[in-house]
Symmetry: C2
Subunit: 256 residues, 2 copies
């Protein structure tokens, strides 16, 4: 459809097996892409949900092994949450941003702000006693996939590790980037001119976050389990930035 | 490319002229789509930036006609902004959320929270004395385009009117929906089950916002002027919701 127009396409990769600790995620992505008839190309971007990265990397905690601190017990009572989960949230975070019954929003050790430090209790196993932490270093996870694909196929792809976050002001979760490799976290349009030659005022675009949101339109369908989305045709310059480049510093944040 | 996989594509519509007050935006979109060889189909979603809607609807104010109130003068001094622009921000908003030198974040009369009430000083004319307000009723603007296309072509498309917002916690602006027609503001996945049969916990997706963010990857390239993006292949159920369905009520917002 109109190859000359600015455009991109997004394709969910089907056929990935349930991921288990120790799995080679890059190898599984390569097999799934090949089985789907998708030949990866230079400039493609793969968006991978943090959930499957965490599983592959074994970022799984058995709640029965977690001893909540005094503070975790108190915070759990105040927020009506499992003290063992609250203990993990505290271990994973730098500070509490907001708390209220049923709500615990923190600044994650990685630098972003999210509910429950991104700890995930779904899709693990049926006994409900295991939870997933976010990957230890999602930028490194993204780089490993990027390098693995470069080595296997000789193609230069970008990778985004995505999570799904709630937001102030607006309802509904949206995809955000918590790890990047090759893909610019932000696209700085400063210096570009508008149609009348004036410098653009709204000048920095949340590029990787929007890539994650676009992918979430396909992968976010929860029950269907589509953790990897291929985006093709995006225009961007290769970047060695990291996801944290798009995290607003605390002292410049009027809301944290 | 693999018609059977869950996928969608996004296409910027080129060839739109500079929009002026009184222009029939729907007619111009139809011409641009036809000239680009894009035949609109049932289920397509058009994302239109609020900027061109405001221009077509004549939501333009000559700052030389604006008499700032006492309060606007004071707030302008505190925030280092043009008192006439601050006067318009106050008229367009319900309350101030945060202020600081160079920053004025308000709850817009439409219900969302954004900087400067979405008032836009770029891309108007070179003398810099005119500004654009947001459309009076962006849901109605979206419906008018949807109905106009239905009447002209007999196809059932969704329409999103988008704006570009900054965010707490994260840097970079992202596309959000401030008007919708046919497209669900939120997709409620509650009741869906995860792979182990448990109800999903993260269950409401910011669908229209993610659609706007996906489109912004193409239209957000400021200087290039691509205000209309066609998304094809998205899966959603037709909705009679309005954009405000995705605005978090003030009394449920821990950050406003």
């Amino acid at each position: 459809l109109n190859g000359g127009l600015p455009s991109f396409s997004a394709h969910a990769l089907p056929g990935l097996p349930l991921i288990a600790p120790g799995d080679d995620l890059t190898a599984l992505i390569l097999v799934a892409a090949e089985q789907a008839g998708l030949t990866l190309r230079d400039g493609d971007v793969l968006v991978v949900t943090s959930k499957v990265v965490s599983k592959a990397e074994g970022c799984i905690v058995d709640l029965r092994t977690v001893e909540p601190s005094e503070r975790a017990h108190q915070l759990a009572a105040e927020t009506d949450k499992d003290p063992r989960v609250v203990e993990l949230v505290l271990r994973e975070s730098r500070m509490i941003s907001r708390q209220r019954r049923g709500v615990l929003v923190v600044e994650h050790r990685l630098g972003f702000v999210s509910a429950n430090a991104g700890i995930d209790q779904s899709n693990l196993d049926a006994d409900d006693e295991h939870v997933l932490l976010l990957p230890v270093d999602p930028d490194a996870s993204a780089r490993a996939i990027r390098v693995g694909i470069q080595e296997a196929l000789g193609v230069n792809v970008g990778v985004v590790i995505s999570d799904s976050h709630g937001r102030p002001f607006r309802l509904g979760n949206v995809g955000v980037a918590i790890g990047v490799a090759g893909v610019p976290p932000l696209r700085d349009l400063r210096g570009d001119r508008d149609l009348y030659g004036r410098e653009l005022r709204i000048s920095v675009q949340g590029f990787a976050d929007q890539v994650a949101s676009a992918a979430n339109l396909l992968s976010g369908e929860g029950a269907e389990g589509l953790p990897v989305v291929l985006l093709r045709g995006l225009r961007f310059e290769w970047s060695d930035g990291q996801a944290a480049d798009a995290y607003r510093p605390a002292d410049e944040d009027l809301y944290r």
